[in-house]
Symmetry: C2
Subunit: 461 residues, 2 copies
């Protein structure tokens, strides 16, 4: 049996030869004398046309097959230079591998994305979701390829953790305690020393801190794995479980971090455009008419940079009415981020050097003592795609910051060690993988780019 | 600045030219007139020799630098055809980027793996762990490369799940309920409808069932992500958090599953041997003297097959004294698995067609009605490396099996749908990624192949 993707790549080689393909019926039209079946085997976006003649002994059986039935077809590949598709297969045999039924939920009509979210196990069989999840797969590979070509070491940072990378809350607890019989200590509190890890543990929100330890050993590393937030935000942009990609580089400052992010974004866009041509065309036709134009521009134009302070000035002078009024010191909201990338720059823009108060403890203090060497990459249509920073590599400054914030220093001793035993300038960024999939496809709801999304109140399958 | 890996690949090009490198001091020897620094920048296993002459104005400062100090060196690359290393760098400048201290825990002496487990953030700087984690990284990439070249779609199956893929217990609970104030229902039980997902949820033990849904849409898919078991097993082979790789293929029977596993194992072994030559040589010298011989054999010899029934006969007739006595119907223990692969076959062997009672519900019933189309790949030194099966694609048989086992059919309706709407013969396997890393390196404790291992009572960093 040959995969349809291989057939399509090399169809001229098979001209007038017998081939065997297996797949699922996407569509079929039978008249008295001839039947046409559109067969998709999942390896290529477009289906292949199968022609079943009246004289074929399987004609009657094939005519009765419901949508999504699985068949194996043996037949001759014939070039069709005057048709839309370059070839068809004239079947000599149609073998039924698995029938489908009349109540198959994906009949020939448009289905809303909302409806398709109720059949997560079947929606990858639709054009849209087939395209989304092939792009998602290729995008993941493109990321691995990019970093591998540059000699980065891929580190599997832990999923279950005893600490909180950002000092933020909103984490899921992981436990094996029997909730109906919780062990208590002498003070009546839950006794976590009896839990599986002999302590209280959570699902990770970021692998960055651990990745830093590995960067100090391998120079350039990245993590790529699931991360979790238990925010009760029920929006098209929030999921409780999502994948994050975080590189960390040594002997590097904020400019190097920005360059790496820019190189990566352009590389993966180009890679996916080349390797998922049919899918990207489909999205451009049916989901986002400007997709190819937008992606092509991003892939070929260098990214702009603005400091936060410049950005605030621009927003103030814009005359635009924002829901959140603009003043120095505030965190930028999505409306501001979109305005900057869509109206001001008309493309991706790095905003750099944010006020230290609104950024994480590990970010490097700038000489002005008011801002830190942080950056967000803002892109049209999405807002923040990437967040990164140069890390504070100066032991005393980091130590002092932790004191100010009341950190449990014992827990972060190892993190300070990285500054004590040959610390170097280093930094990195985080790319929310689902945001990148949305950006590449034009899909606007995060639930539609995750195979089995987990959101407040939803953990099906 | 140039990466040492790039310098080593192309050093002749830089002969007598000025280069700039940055890295950490692995070792240094200073005499009255000259100093030698072994510098490692993390991008290549072996360090580069830096020569600091007495006339260099940084000589005295360089002499005082402690192990693991970070420096940037500017100097002339000089070929040294008569030395062990092909070149050295004669420093004109030694710039201190970050000093280290006398109490740096990795002084020049042998450290036990037990001790190194107490400094997880520093151990990747040692030769052994640097090699382990570079091999781990390359192995992950080799897996992605293998499946990508074959057109498989990478699916991120969910980590948080409401169901249990194997019907086995031993799962971690995921919750946002306040354990000090658990909500109770009218019967006094914990009210999980008030939990984040409005139900009781766990960490996944396998992505297989969800991967099957995607295989039925894309034909060939794989998952690769973290999985979890809360077994209280404190052994060198058990971790609570580990990575698993699970492909799933359609229009495929058990033989196809075995072929895929064999192709993959050989491909990734060859890939790592080619791309981590220094690391593999190191393991062969210091960890496992037979490593290269063993891996070479596996990469070049086709794998044997035995049915479970044949294996039981061989074990019975072996005259060997096993701790667990051998009889048909038992599950094979590690001692039996090792005997078969080490003494009987002397290489990898697929054992196939196990008694249905000891295997999972989704495995395809053989015509003998006593065994299922399951396989384990056993390898010398490890035992089971891979477990796979052809899945039961016949609706009635699967439905009946679920009834027998008292499954909640509502919860598995979607899984039955995959058999109802164009089901096909399909199957797959699971590779415990850490076992593969152990197999590739000769390392014998799973704690030493995971960056930040999670085991009973241990969740540091």
């Amino acid at each position: 049996m040959i995969l349809i993707k291989d057939l399509i790549k090399d169809y001229e080689k098979y001209s007038d030869k017998e081939v065997e393909v297996g797949g699922w019926i996407k569509n079929s039209r039978f008249s008295k004398n001839v039947g046409f079946i559109e067969l998709n085997d999942g390896t290529f976006f477009n289906p292949v046309q199968i022609v079943v003649g009246k004289d074929n002994e399987d004609f009657e059986r094939a005519e009765k097959l419901k949508l999504s039935s699985a068949i194996i077809v043996v037949g001759k590949l014939v070039l069709t230079p005057n048709s839309k598709q370059p070839f068809e297969i004239q079947a000599s045999k149609v073998i039924v591998e698995g029938e489908s039924t009349d109540d198959y939920p994906l009949q020939k009509k448009r289905h809303t994305f909302e409806f398709l979210r109720t059949i997560l196990h079947l929606r990858p069989r639709t054009n849209t979701f087939n395209a989304v999840f092939r792009v998602r797969s290729r995008l993941a590979f493109a990321i691995h390829k990019f970093f591998n070509e540059r000699g980065f070491v891929y580190v599997h940072t832990p999923i279950i953790t005893g600490s909180d990378a950002e000092g933020a809350g909103e984490m899921f607890r992981v436990t094996t305690l029997d909730l109906d019989n919780l062990p208590k200590d002498d003070d009546g509190n839950v006794d976590f020393t009896q839990d599986f890890f002999s302590k209280s543990t959570n699902l990770t929100v970021s692998g960055q801190l651990q990745a830093e330890a590995y960067a100090l050993a391998f120079r350039n590393v990245y993590t790529f794995g699931p991360t979790f937030r238990s925010e009760h935000s029920n929006t098209p942009r929030h999921a409780a479980e999502f994948w994050m990609m975080e590189p960390e580089i040594c002997f590097a400052d904020l400019d190097d971090v920005c360059s790496l992010a820019e190189d990566m974004v352009r590389y993966i866009i180009k890679d996916v455009m080349e390797n998922c041509e049919e899918e990207i065309k489909f999205f451009n036709s049916f989901v986002d008419k400007n997709l190819i134009e937008r992606l092509t521009k991003v892939a070929n134009k260098s990214f702009k940079k603005l400091t936060y302070t410049e950005a605030i000035d621009i927003l103030k002078k814009s005359g635009e009415k924002f829901e959140y009024p603009v003043k120095w010191g505030m965190d930028l909201q999505t409306e501001h981020e979109k305005y900057l990338s869509e109206k001001v720059v008309d493309g991706p823009v790095f905003v750099t050097d944010y006020p230290k108060e609104i950024k994480a403890f590990y970010m490097r203090l700038n000489d002005d003592k008011k801002t830190v060497a942080a950056t967000d990459l803002l892109v049209p249509g999405i807002g923040e795609l990437i967040g990164g920073s140069q890390r504070e590599e100066r032991f005393e400054l980091l130590d002092q910051k932790m004191d100010e914030l009341g950190f449990n220093k014992e827990e972060y001793k190892w993190y300070l060690d990285l500054r004590k035993y040959g610390g170097v300038k280093h930094g990195g960024f985080g790319l929310g993988f689902e945001r990148m999939v949305m950006y590449m496809t034009g899909m606007s709801n995060i639930r539609d780019v995750i195979p089995f999304p987990r959101t407040v109140g939803h953990c099906e399958y």
